[in-house]
């Protein structure tokens, strides 16, 4: 039982990773490309990449995960250039996060088993992590028996289980309904508060970006995918969409996205093409 009692301090054990993109150029064939000159993501911060689809957000995320590599420039993780999968990094996607052939518990226990933990210990831990997201009574369920929000919560539980220093989220809540999405945003914030992990998140939802981010990197798709602007969001937490300051930033961002859309309408080569995969 000793291992399980120590669960309370799992979250506070480590410091978030520091991530730095410098002079990144990445092309796919001759059509889609993305560049990121300088983007530093401070340890423990929550940065959001905001932009329409096709502007290279997912590419940047894959580079950060060390699942793909830039043609020019480099991604540094704690001042070390990434040359393979980034250490202590967790990924959450919009869908396909959980392995559907495993139960909720097996999904959460999977990374622990990868680390060589004994089966019974891993199960015990997994149940504790499921408890943290309020789903301990669903530990024997397969993902197909659970709602989209529950699945993402289990994915979050598994993510906490790996004790990540960097959390990469690719539109994790965009397949969920509005209420569930709000709930998941609160879950994410509480996980972030407890863990001190660095979070880099992709979204095209402006409201979501403003509710969560310390920093927003606005991405534009013309003439090629690039970071157009980096904004520090200095709103107090918890954030309130009714707050005039919140609204002011929202309008400012709205105008930017609107401008982007107009540009895209006049340039057929910029038709949304998701270059992930």
């Amino acid at each position: 039982m000793g291992t399980v009692n120590s669960m309370n301090d799992i979250a506070t054990h480590s410091v978030g990773a520091r991530l730095e993109f410098s002079n990144i150029r990445k092309s796919f064939g001759n059509t889609v490309s993305v560049e990121a000159d300088n983007l530093t993501i401070e340890p423990g911060s929550l940065t959001v990449l905001l932009g329409r689809s096709g502007c290279g957000k997912t590419t940047l995320l894959n580079l950060a995960a060390g699942l793909d590599f830039p043609d020019h420039g480099s991604v540094s993780y704690d001042n070390q250039i990434l040359q393979g999968p980034a250490p202590a990094t967790a990924l959450i996607f919009q869908t396909h996060n959980l392995f559907p052939w495993m139960t909720a518990e097996e999904n959460v226990a999977f990374p622990l088993r990868n680390q060589g933990m004994a089966k019974s210990d891993a199960q015990e831990h997994a149940r504790q992590y499921l408890k943290q997201v309020g789903l301990e009574s669903f530990s024997g369920h397969k993902p197909s028996q659970l709602s989209g929000g529950m699945r993402q919560r289990i994915a979050l539980a598994r993510t906490i289980a790996t004790k990540p220093r960097l959390l990469l989220l690719d539109e994790p809540f965009s397949a969920l309904d509005m209420q569930t999405r709000r709930m998941m945003q609160r879950y994410l914030l509480s996980v972030w508060n407890d863990s001190a992990a660095t979070i880099l998140m992709i979204t095209h939802d402006l409201h979501e970006a403003l509710m969560l981010a310390d920093r927003i990197a606005l991405m534009a798709s013309s003439p090629r995918g690039h970071i157009a602007e980096i904004m520090d969001i200095e709103l107090t937490r918890p954030r309130n969409p009714e707050d005039p300051a919140f609204r002011a930033i929202q309008q400012q961002l709205d105008r930017f996205l609107e401008h982007e859309t107009l540009l895209a309408e006049h340039d057929p080569t910029l038709e949304s093409t998701d270059q992930q995969k």
Binding site: A65, F99, W101, F110, N114, K142, R158
Partner: protein, 278 residues
């Protein structure tokens, strides 16, 4: 009391109608009905002499013969019984398919792990797959002979191409997210195969096994009819040559029923294994 006596018959009626509906929805019932109809028509055909009973003996003779427990054909060394022949044929299909599954799994693993091999192996497999299984029969008999190994080899060749292609396609079709996440969760190469790729392709693999079973089943019977000297196909040819049309009929029906039963079993195994598929 009064209300009790009035709604009782109602309840009985709903119970009966529910029972009737349940029976009518049962696949087994319709399966039996359909076969009963065929048997009746067949019997009627013989009785009315639309069918020549010498060539197509009526069910009233064939069915008792099938259950007489003493069905065999041929003399001496060539003698073969229905159950023995069926067992031999099933064993050949089983061994051939297992071998095919084993070899195609190895091929698929190598193709995924070694991109260079994909370029080399895939064209070969792709050109093997469309060859009709029966086309291997003359070649096999010439090279291997007319024994049991030849039949196993025919089954093996019948399933190798399609099974390899299906397995490779299933592996290529695994959503990229699963692999990315697994890699990110620190999954070792072995665990990746065993806990991620294998379960992910099970639906595709099970379909491939069912499909190739039909191919294998046809091919082995054709092989046995074309020269291999034992098994169900051989028994039918032998019965035909000795003009035992009852046995020919029974053999044909046995092929159908066993094929059907095995397909159902595979389907059942499928449902058991794949409860997680939405």
């Amino acid at each position: 009391m009064q209300s009790h006596s009035t709604d009782r018959p109602d309840r009985q009626i709903t119970l009966i109608s529910r029972f009737v509906r349940l029976i009518l929805q049962s696949n087994l019932l319709w399966f039996c009905l359909a076969w009963l109809l065929i048997i009746l028509l067949w019997e009627l055909g013989s009785y009315m002499e639309w069918l020549n009973p010498q060539i197509l003996p009526p069910p009233s003779e064939t069915i008792p013969y099938a259950f007489s427990g003493n069905i065999s054909i041929g003399f001496g060394q060539q003698r073969t019984g229905l159950f023995e022949a069926t067992a031999i044929t099933l064993a050949r299909v089983g061994i051939g398919m297992l071998a095919g599954l084993l070899v195609s799994s190895c091929l698929a693993v190598m193709v995924i792990e070694l991109p260079l091999l994909r370029r080399l192996v895939l064209p070969i497999v792709q050109s093997l797959a469309p060859i009709a299984p029966v086309a291997w029969i003359p070649f096999t008999i010439a090279v291997i002979g007319i024994g049991g190994q030849a039949a196993v080899f025919i089954v093996f060749m019948a399933v190798l191409g399609t099974m390899s292609l299906s397995l490779i396609a299933a592996l290529d079709g695994i959503p990229a997210e699963y692999l990315k996440i697994a890699r990110n969760l620190g999954t070792s190469r072995m665990r990746m195969w065993w806990h991620v790729r294998l379960p992910a392709i099970t639906p595709g693999a099970m379909t491939a096994i069912r499909m190739s079973f039909f191919g294998a089943w046809m091919a082995v019977l054709a092989g046995e009819m074309a020269g291999i000297n034992s098994g169900l196909g051989y028994m039918i040819i032998m019965a035909q040559q000795m003009y035992n049309m009852k046995l020919v009929m029974i053999g044909i029906l046995a092929i159908g029923f066993i094929g059907f039963a095995i397909d159902r079993l595979l389907l059942l195994a499928n449902a058991r294994l794949l409860q997680w598929v939405q």
